[in-house]
Amino acid sequence: MTAIERPLPRPELETEELLVNMGPQHPSTHGVLRLVIRTDGEMVRETWPHIGYLHRCFEKIAQEVTFPQVVPYTDRLDYLASMNNAHSYCMAVERLAGIKIPPRAEYLRVIFSELNRIASHLLAFGTYALDLGAFTPFLYGFRERELLLDIFEKVSGGRLLYHYPRIGGVARDITPEIAKDIEQFIRIFPQKWAEYNTLLSYNKIFIERTANVGVILPQTAIRYGLTGPCLRGSGVAYDIRKAHPYSVYDKVDFQIAVGQGEKGTVGDCWDRYWVRMVEMMESLKIVDQCLKGLPEGPVQAKVARVLRLPDGEAYTRAENPRGELGFYIVSDKKRTNAVRCRVRAPSFCNLSVTHEVAKDCLVADVVAIVGSIDIVLGEVDR
């Protein structure tokens, strides 16, 4: 806490600065993030994010339990994007083990990863509206997310923690009924999306609250290692699905959503928000294409019951709804568990920029900025 005492240029009028603890029990900190903000009246001079409140030793656990047993734990990293997390982890193990998974499983993984991206962005949209004081979009977002959760429940049995991608494929095949549900969702969603835009995206108050607020310059974003919508919101067209295609992403056609500075400056909160909104529609396109091109075949490759990986290390990354989720695994052929498992969590890296961005702004802006970065504390603290 020594940094707090660092003197800043004094304002003209002698005022008293206040050190305020925002969180961990605060309505707008997305879980248990603790922000220490130094304020001068309504102006925030500096913000320090404090993390670790939700630490659950994920990496240590991942080194203790066997490889298939880690998969349900990855669900709990970014609990809003379980499909994507497990996808990334399974890819790492498969790469080390040299398992080639059946094409149908690849397609299913992509379909559900993208649907989960929509679900996650719907929640991000809703909570962001909540941060800015609009309650209703939150529930509308939940309403559509519920449709997705029903689909996930049908296919995986879980509503939040799916444990659907498994090492060597996916847990279950989809039934025609599930395929129909997904098609139905693809049909109705664009109209709901337009409603969100009417209600929130193009609302003048919302634009005023987010445009030109919390501008992250492209170079700042790159310097802090931001990924995902936070990076693309700053106008950098970097998406792992395009830059380093994995799974079947090279076979589908979609655009990278990039912040244009449509309502204000490139890299402001509105841009980050808008990237998420556009990504929902792009994900819908991917799901549509994958569903149409879904090959027949098994969904699970042959995997040894007691999985031992050869000596080696692997790092795989996947585009999570929040950015680049990487798993680095070191394995030993004598062991059934990883020697080292390290997670490169997007929320953790994205959160680091808060200190740089959330300063010399209003208290309300801090909420808007933290909300627009869209962190999940389960992943930040791991």
Partner: protein, 189 residues
Amino acid sequence: MAPKQNPVAQYFANIYQAVATTLLGMKLTIGYFFRKPVTMLYPEMRPVVQPGARGLHEFDEAKCIACKMCMTACPVDCLVIEFEGRGKDAFITRYDIDYQKCLFCQLCCDACPTEGIRMTGKWDLASYDRAGCLVRFARPKSTEEIRKFREDFARAEAEKKRKAAEAKAKAAAEAKPAAAPEPEKKSEG
């Protein structure tokens, strides 16, 4: 970036936008006001659980072969199994799942070779105390029963052993030079 506008025009445009977008939003919300809610009245209307949902476990003692695969597969060690005997005739004395620890990951069910343990859609798992979180799936057995099974099992084992020894002796008697000792099975539990 919006084209640079005359500040006066910008001022009025802002006011217009603020009013217009507010009215649009209000039109949308009032539309929902007159529509039927999508939520359900919970205790009266129960949500339909999809087939294959991962809820409370269901344990079939008859199918269990006491192979302990579920116990091994569990990432959180929430499963405890104790039994007498082995294989198809195993006598399960204890099959507990501690739902304070359970992840509902279904790895136990996937590991089970006989589908003796599987998950049902039962999701209403609240209990008033911690003791309620520990669910004993196996039918409780009296010590008498266990003792009886032990005796029976020991007798059967002895019988089996005797038979095996007899067969061995017979085989040895039939072909003396080709005698090889049968690998001994290790008994578990």
